[in-house]
Every structure is written in C-alpha cells, then in structure tokens.
C-alpha cells in the first residue's frame, strides 16, 4: 500500500509522536544518535511530505518540529468548551506590537497604543509563554525589552517571525517605524519621498 519508510524516518516518526515538546533537529539527532544533521533534515522533509495529505501534519515552528492535527479538521476536534480562552483586546494588541517590533520596551508599546498598559497584560503574555524579557535597552533608565518566544511561533503556526501576517507590507509602508521618524520623513515633503520610503524599508529589513 505504501512504500516502506526508511529506518530513520520511522525513528523520527516514533520520537516526534512520543515527544512531549517540539524538538529541534539537533535534539533529534542527539536523541537518535545520528551524527549528520543533514540526514535528519532530509528524513524530516520526507516525513513531512508523507503526512501532507493526512489527518495529522508534521510542522516546523521556530526551528522545532512537532506533529499536529490538520487545520481543516479543526471543526471535528473543537470541544464544546473552548480550550483557548479569548485573549483581551489589550493583550492581543500588546502581543502584536511585541511580535512586529521586537525587541520593544514597555514605554514603546505604550507610545504605539497611546494607552497605559496595565502590568497584568504583559504578565498574561509571559504566563502563556509567548513573550519573554529579552534584556535591557542601553539607553538612560535601561528599560527591559520584550520579545516573542518559540512557543509563540508554535501556538500561532508560524515557522518564523518572517511569517507574521502582513509584516512585509507594514515594513514597506513604514508603519513599523517610530512616529518621530515618519514625522521627519513626512515634513521633508520632497518629490523623492517615495524613494526614501523604499530606502528606509530596506534598511529596516
């Protein structure tokens, strides 16, 4: 019925089925005692192809691999009781701002939102494991800056931050630049404005 899967493919399949957490290529190679990461990568690709049409998919999120159910079957698997409780609107905005601007300080988040962000909002995102403190910005006051985590990528089905919806368009439109920068650009009001905008987006990327 099927072609026989290769030994490494079977081993990866069993390991990832049994794993409680997504695993990196390195972790898989170590666990299975395979020396060549390229070999593991190739077998993962074959396994991913095998599952592409099935009810369960093999996916890579932030460099870590796991099995999950096919998205089109969501309606069959959703329980009566919603498992993911709704995030408050404040929290979703803060999460989006962190994801699209990371790393970003709380003051920067607030300046974008124009509203004070209650301490609880960041807590909620950190408790979910989606956001983490990522050091301090070396400016006066040394504010803590925040960034997203691999769990965030996992949860939202993103292979990497490059997959964030619309991030390229936002960057191209300069909407990820601070207001001050945009102000300056707008006030200069020159014919080659379009060129400048392009320049800035390419710098930012």
């Amino acid at each position: 019925m099927n072609t026989q899967p290769a030994t490494l493919e079977r081993a990866l399949e069993a390991t990832l089925f049994a794993a409680e957490e997504p695993m990196t290529v390195e972790a898989l190679a170590t666990h299975l005692g395979v020396l060549e990461h390229a070999e593991v990568r190739a077998a993962l690709a074959a396994l991913q192809a095998h599952y592409i049409a099935r009810g369960v998919h093999l996916v890579e999120r932030g460099g870590r691999w796991h099995f999950e159910t096919a998205p089109d079957l969501a309606h069959l698997l959703r329980r009566e009781k919603e498992q993911v409780r709704r995030l408050s609107r404040a929290a979703t905005e803060v999460l989006a701002i962190i994801a699209y601007h990371e790393p970003v300080s709380r003051a920067e988040i607030e300046s974008i939102r124009g509203v004070q962000t209650s301490a609880g909002t960041l807590d909620v995102l950190m408790e979910a494991g989606w956001v983490r403190p990522a050091g301090r910005r070396e400016v006066p006051g040394r504010p803590v800056i925040y960034a997203t985590t691999p769990v965030f990528l996992d949860h939202f089905g993103l292979e990497s931050r490059r997959d964030l919806p619309g991030i390229d368009e936002l960057r191209a439109a300069g909407l990820l630049d601070p207001v001050d920068e945009a102000m300056e650009a707008a006030m200069r009001f020159e014919p080659d404005e379009a060129d400048e905008a392009d320049d800035e987006s390419s710098e930012a990327s």
Partner: protein, 263 residues
C-alpha cells in the same frame, strides 16, 4: 478530552478588572483616547491618511460630551486628550500666521501617524488571532508517551586494581607478629656478684663506673650501669657497703663497711 493540550487560559479581559473600571471607559471595546479616535476614524471608513483631523476631533469631543451627559466617570487621560484636541481644533481653525511651534498641522499629522500605526497593529493582531492556533484549530498529541533519558553508569576496573586491593586488604589485616631482639644485658644477680667481689678487694671508695666491664659494648655498659647501681643499693641496704655522692649527677662512690667482713 484534550484538556492538557491547552495551557493557554486567560482572564476574559482587562476590562473585567474591577478597580480599574472606576476611571476606565470601556464601551464597545473602547479602551483609551487613541482607541476611541481610531474607532471614530474607522467609522468614517476612510484611509487614515485622508481623514480630516478636524472632523475627527469634532466627533471625539461630541462623544466625550455625550459620555459626560451619561454621567460616566471619565478617566483623567480622556480629559487631557479632550483638552488637547480642543486646543488642536481651535488652532486648526485659527488663521495660519498666528500659530506657534509646533504648528497645529504638525500636531494633526503626528496624531494621524499614531492612529495609522495603532490601526495597523490592531489589524495584524486580528489576523494573528485568526491563525490556526494550537488548542483551538490544531491539536497536539493528546497522550504523548514522552521521551526519557536514563543515565546509566558503566563501572570500570581492571585486574591489577583488583589483586592490588586484595593484597592491601590481606596485608592490612594479617596477624601481626612482634619480634623482640635478644639484647646483651647484665642481670641484677650477676651485678650483685660482681660488685660484692670487687668490694672485697679494697676498703677505699670506688666510683661505681669502675665496676663496669671494661670492654663491653655500649648497650651492655648501660645495662651493667643500671644493674650495678641497683646492686649497690641492695648491698647498702644489707649493711655491707655505704654510698656517697657530692651532688646531683656527681660521681657515685661506694666502699665496703669495715665491720661487714666480720658480719
């Protein structure tokens, strides 16, 4: 049946925070001044870049007025925003030449840019939330067996260590035999005999060292000295000799008592 796959529980919303509500306006999802403006901007259904800030400010102020009429408690920042927007509105209406820096156009532009950015974030936030999310749209393995790494210690030793250890045990615990060397000594009896014999020769004082065998080894000499001393004491006690010494560690002298020969 998939409860453990959903660690993502959130409090329903920030607006449910009871103590924040007193100074917090949350109507139809409005959360703050920019939010409110943004919502008003959206209701005009125009591009934020094209929107009339003047019209927007008008609507905002009307809203705040109405909210005040509804006896809602307004947050301080709403009022600050309202005051600022009222100023902005008046400045926009004034003739250009009377304006200060920064110009109301600049302020209006800044407001527009901020609204644009927040609008963009709200839009992508909604797109993000609509993605296939774990625990809502896609599900992880319900009962993973789990991977475990057991550490196993492999003990190593070798033949030499083994027999060396045994040798040490045997050596350490072997019955111990003590040998005492047969040393040359002069017994008390022979010393008594010797001292008595020599005392018989003369009545003069003699130093006790003169009683020692002249050619003996140092060990034997020390033994002989000790024995001769004890023999001298014994003979003195029996009344056959007398002892004298000038001071501590001075030569010890012995001589026969005259009448002892008869005794």
């Amino acid at each position: 049946m998939n409860d453990s796959a959903q660690p993502f529980m959130f409090p329903p919303s920030d607006s449910a925070r009871p103590d924040a509500d007193a100074l917090y306006l949350a109507i139809d999802g409005w959360e703050g001044p920019l939010d409110l403006l943004l919502d008003l901007a959206r209701r005009q259904k125009v591009d934020l870049r094209q929107i009339s800030i003047l019209a927007l400010v008008d609507q905002y102020l009307t809203y705040i007025e109405r909210a005040g009429a509804l006896k809602l408690e307004l947050a301080a920042d709403y009022l600050v925003m309202a005051a600022w927007l009222a100023y902005l509105k008046s400045a926009l209406l004034l003739p250009k030449d009377e304006q200060e820096d920064p110009s109301p156009e600049e302020l209006a532009l800044r407001l527009q840019l901020r609204l644009q950015r927040l609008g963009a974030m709200r839009e992508v936030a909604a797109r993000l939330m609509a993605r296939d999310r774990i625990g809502r749209d896609v599900f992880l393995r319900g009962a993973p067996e789990g991977l475990r790494t057991d550490r196993k210690i492999v003990w190593r030793s070798d033949m030499f260590s083994l027999i060396q250890a045994y040798g040490q045990v045997k050596a350490r615990t072997a019955p111990r035999i003590y040998h005492v060397a047969n040393r040359p000594v002069m017994t008390l009896d022979s010393a008594l005999e010797r001292v008595s014999a020599m005392l018989g020769v003369t009545l003069e004082w003699m130093e006790i060292r003169d009683f020692l065998p002249p050619h003996a080894s140092p060990e034997l000499k020390r033994s002989a000295l000790a024995s001769s001393f004890v023999a001298a004491l014994e003979l003195t006690k029996r009344g056959r000799a007398e002892l004298e010494q000038d001071g501590a560690f001075a030569p010890l002298r012995i001589r026969r008592l005259k009448d002892s020969t008869s005794a």
